[in-house]
Symmetry: C2
Subunit: 683 residues, 2 copies
């Protein structure tokens, strides 16, 4: 019953299964299994370990409050889950000794200047966290959990000393809850994930053309007419603010004005600059409606609204949006034109600057600071307004040179479906930029942006995670922490850790595939899915004109961006052509993986016939069979050094080119790697 020793079939699964492990194994042998993400500022290895034979027994000999205790309780629970150790009974004083020594709670309202530093020391006897604030202690607890490592028959903490603080003060994630509403549960688990990777700002994009998502009791039509009934009550919003504070996270609310305001204007037409919408907007893209900056009543309204919101959102910053306001009414409405003339305002930008100045005055009365997107940065803007750059680092630096605080967002747009590695390498304030040290101080940090056109509760997690964990490291760790391979090695366990706090980014793919196939029987479909990823927002929009009512329950919605296969095939391909050249095992692994893929095709194809929603990927299935064959052949030629028959290369390149064309709203993850294989075949 011996099995044939054929590369293509023997132990295929074993090879495929080893795909992630291959990058992890070598480095995991280091003394401290450094899986930390983000990497700490300073880590000193000791020798020995603290064996974990019972659950944590935590002392707080200095400062102690309810928030710290809750953070400790959550950490203990996760510690028990990670080690399988039983809960301590009530009043139990035995256990692995952890001292959490904190100077004080930190600021009443967490600010951009909160002291987040901590030190973590593990000895063979116990562990200690020292921090100035609750928030610092929370970061220390997260680091401690990530240090847990296998040790013989159980787990241990390595002896280590860590001194850590963030590189940037503003490490945010923006979630657009306007275009699609995200339920409270989604927000909570997102905050849980943010805490794991030490992000500290949740930028809550609460209003959009497509929906007004926060209850106003002063102006109830905002949600009554502007939300399809999908909005956060004030009680829920306060609950989220408290939930975030318990996790060391600020909530910065955004109320878009004067553009992106269809929902405001449908609810209260008197705010409009002339033309009035007849409903909230279902289509995506930039709208022409705008709030009227020329009426005093507008500012009375906004003041009453912001005053009410200030009772819910304690953060110093209020985001007023301010982007994308073409506002044709401002060019044509005689009343508005007359106002502009009277006030010597030349053009829409000047009128919007006037609007911003008025809103800024309101915010100052409320003791708030204003933040807005790039467009708010107009001549004469007071220097205490912060700018969020969606236009990129040049725009950000321009602001910094003028003395404006800024945060970078453009390289961190998740709906572009770029890889974690791409996002990871984009630095908000690279040391080789032309900013002076003082100017550099104005770069507060960055924000990951999750725009809402193509996500909803079931799919948003896999769009945000784990890529956001890699970006979180960019915001926290030193500039020179930029080894992409090592980042991906650590991203694997961190992704699992994020799942353990309740995120669904890993399990949602299979759930989606089962739903599409109408059966649990998705082994082949899962294999197929592992080699594709969703196309970017704009590519999808070109293939399918989506709007707010479009179903987001398709194959493209089930699969996740940047699945492990992308970096893994790239890494193996790189090794194959490295100097000195990689060993044949790399080729064998790639070969086995392509066999695995091509075996899946004939199983997936009949499923597409019985599951109409899967049919849109049938072209991709056909292509996968062909591309796998190209890969096999290329590997054979590379291995033998033989020349392929004439026309082979042209044909192979043709297949790759075909596969790069839009189809099914998904793309293959391995095409660049395959191209490299083909390019290197002798000709």
């Amino acid at each position: 019953m011996d099995k044939p020793k054929n590369l293509l079939t023997r132990d295929k699964m074993r090879l495929v299964i080893a795909m992630l492990a291959c990058s992890a194994a070598s480095m995991a042998q280091a003394q401290v299994r450094n899986n930390l993400m983000p990497q700490p500022a300073e880590l000193r290895d000791g020798s020995g370990v603290l064996p974990l034979t019972s659950t944590l027994n935590v002392d707080t000999p200095a400062w102690h409050d309810g928030r710290l205790q809750q953070a400790i309780d959550r950490a203990v629970r996760r510690f028990e889950m990670a080690t399988g150790l039983p809960h301590a009974g009530p009043g139990n004083v035995a256990g692995t000794h952890l001292i959490v020594r904190v100077k004080g709670a930190g600021e009443m309202v967490q600010s951009v200047n909160e002291d987040e530093s901590y030190a973590l020391k593990v000895t063979t006897d116990g562990a200690e966290i020292d921090a100035s604030t609750d928030v610092g202690a929370m970061h220390g607890l997260e680091t401690l959990l990530q240090l847990i490592q296998p040790d013989g028959s159980g787990y241990a903490l390595p002896v280590v000393e860590i001194h850590d603080q963030p590189r940037f003060r503003w490490r945010g994630l923006m979630v657009d809850c306007g275009r699609h509403f995200e339920p409270i549960d989604v927000i909570k688990r997102t905050l849980d994930g943010m805490a794991v990777v030490k992000l500290n700002v949740f930028h809550w994009h609460l209003t959009e053309d497509q929906g007004f998502r926060i209850e106003s009791k002063v102006f109830p039509n905002l949600t009554r007419k502007g939300s399809d009934g999908l909005f956060y009550t004030q009680e829920q919003a306060r609950e989220i603010v408290a939930y975030a504070r318990e996790r060391g996270i600020r909530i910065v609310p955004e109320f878009e004005m004067p553009g992106h305001s269809t929902a405001w204007l449908y609810a209260y037409p008197k705010l409009a600059s002339g033309t009035v919408p007849d409903g909230i907007r279902r289509e995506f893209g930039v709208s022409n409606y705008a709030i009227d900056p020329t009426r005093e009543a507008t500012y009375t309204f906004i003041e009453r609204f912001l005053r009410e919101m200030a009772t819910i959102f304690p953060d110093e910053y209020v985001h007023i949006g301010g982007d994308e306001t073409p506002a044709p009414d401002w060019k044509h409405n005689p009343r508005i034109l007359a106002f502009m003339k009277r006030h010597h305002l030349k053009g829409n930008a000047a009128l919007q600057a006037y609007f911003n100045t008025r809103v800024l005055a309101i915010l100052k009365k409320l003791h708030k600071r204003m933040i807005g997107w790039d467009e708010v940065l107009t001549p004469g803007l007071p220097k205490d307004v912060a700018v969020q750059s969606w236009r990129g680092v040049a725009s950000l630096n321009q602001g910094a040179k003028l003395g404006y605080d800024g945060i970078l967002s453009q390289p961190y747009y998740l709906d572009g479906m770029r890889s974690a590695g791409d996002h990871y390498l984009a630095d908000p304030a690279p040391s080789n930029s032309d900013l002076t040290a003082a100017e550099r101080e104005h770069i507060l940090g960055g924000e990951v942006c999750m725009w809402g056109e193509h996500v909803y509760a079931r799919t948003i997690d896999s769009r945000i995670w784990p890529r956001t964990a890699a970006i979180a490291e960019r915001f926290w760790s030193a500039e020179d922490v930029r080894d992409v391979d090592d980042m991906y090695r650590r991203l694997d366990p961190v992704s699992v850790e994020l799942e353990s706090v309740g995120l669904t980014h890993l399990q949602s793919e299979d759930a989606g595939l089962r739903e599409l196939a109408g059966t649990q029987d998705i082994a082949a479909l899962r294999t197929f899915a592992s080699a594709v990823e969703p196309v970017s927002f704009s590519e999808r929009y070109q293939q399918q004109h989506t709007n707010q009512l479009t179903s987001l329950d398709r194959f493209v919605d089930a699969v996740r961006p940047d699945p492990p296969s992308r970096h893994w095939t790239e890494l193996l391909t790189r090794r194959i052509f490295a100097d000195p050249v990689g060993d044949s095992a790399d080729r064998e692994q790639l070969n086995a993986w392509f066999s695995h893929l091509s075996d899946a095709v004939p199983v997936v194809q009949p499923q597409m016939q019985s599951s109409p929603r899967l049919r849109e990927i049938s072209t991709r299935a056909e292509q996968l069979a062909k591309l796998s064959r190209v890969a096999h052949e290329a590997l054979v030629y590379l291995s033998s050094g033989n020349k392929p028959p004439s026309g082979w290369k042209q044909d192979a390149e043709q297949q790759i080119a075909e596969a790069r064309k839009p189809s099914g709203m998904v793309r293959f993850t391995f095409l660049d790697s395959l191209q490299k294989l083909v390019d290197n075949v002798a000709d």
Copy 2:
């Protein structure tokens, strides 16, 4: 690059993947793709289909209320998810026409006699649901969703006429939230799942030795001292009652008395029969503490408590538990013995009967009916008390003969980790029993029981689902609907449907495996897990003395009971030996599956070394390699008809016997099938 045509390796995955499909394919070709679970009372096939090209446009020309509208809205949303059709814009009147004609809401408080019948008619033009009550209409909507089938490039409903009503009036699921607390989200998704398969009673086991889970404002210590802070507020409980009512489900609360009452007595020692606990109980098993039935203060307390609970739980029935009360105090406490003598009460059973009578009188004052476990059935018990049988059908029938209403539970204990097929065949009132028709009327139905020792939020779904769907069919459908193979065929899509309403029973396995392995890289571990299942409650308890503080994050907790491999291997094996004998494809499929399993072993083994929590299954991994070899060899001998070498059979049986011994708290799913293969090898 042709691959060798070897059975063991060629297209292995394809074969394995086809495992579920093999039972489904043949029957799916029937005119109506009858995936309904539970099967309706009467179904008439028409010809043709109603093509589904736009979302549902629902008219309610007769009765209409908020509850019905919400049920319709939920159904429309699921319809859109199942078909990928876009949402209708607001005010849209186009769409697939569905009329829902209901006579009235139904009872103010849903009772055991609620009219749940409905008719569903699909023509080529549209669909109609007729029902007397909202609840009947909800059942009709569930049936409609299960009828959706692929049709060319889209989906359709088959032309069909269904007249349906349940066989039993009481179709329940009990969840023990005492031993481990289950968060509100778990309860809600459980109710969602129940609605899918037309269950109508959620029996909420709210108090246990290990925790008192419902807030009393009258007696706040019940949760303050008795719950570790894990309890439902009254507001939450009311929310659950409303949530259940919206889904046609009654909530029957259970307050255990006079036994299983450690939490009551720790909170209020004055209730105790002498000895007083010094904390809530952490150990499982029967406790000796009991409420004191001899004091008037006891009944004053219980009356005030039940009066308060009646403001939360509107259902006619209140479950008082009443089981397992050894109460040694009742045998030894002179004061209690004196009371018993005074009242001519001989022994504990008589004292408990006295207690029950007193509690019954209180419930009558509150216009409630009493239900209790078997033990409440003592001589002289008034006939309007209902009995829930945990002792089995004999005990149930005995009650029915005496004129007591009863529900059957014993064959539906999920923690026994029996197969869906086993549970499915147990009938609450088989027509061949010796009950008269009138006596049979007393069998109200049955209840699935999910006891809480070994489940918590992350694992409970896979213990309840999908097995409970099969039992739900037993409670709803005709007695002669008992084709186990067809049940399993339908259980596959229903399981996916249950996932689509939010249950995590399918995705939790992989999530658990990832957490144990600390990596996403679980393909081999998943394969291994597919061939094992958790052992029963008592077998686990023997292997590991668990208590309330034990970690439930082990391998046994990740894997699910009765995975598809169990029935699939059984079915294939049965076919191989059927008359006329099955074709060689069946043998090939089995063979390929065992190859798949044995390939997984060498990948899983190193993972066990780097993941201490996986080590407890290392013996099972070694056994799996050996058993796969036995299977391969057996199939070769069966195929050839050759005799194995002397000693082979003995050796094979030895391997199987070894594998039946306890190890790792999991057992293989295929041992009976493998035994059958070995038995049939010539000797």
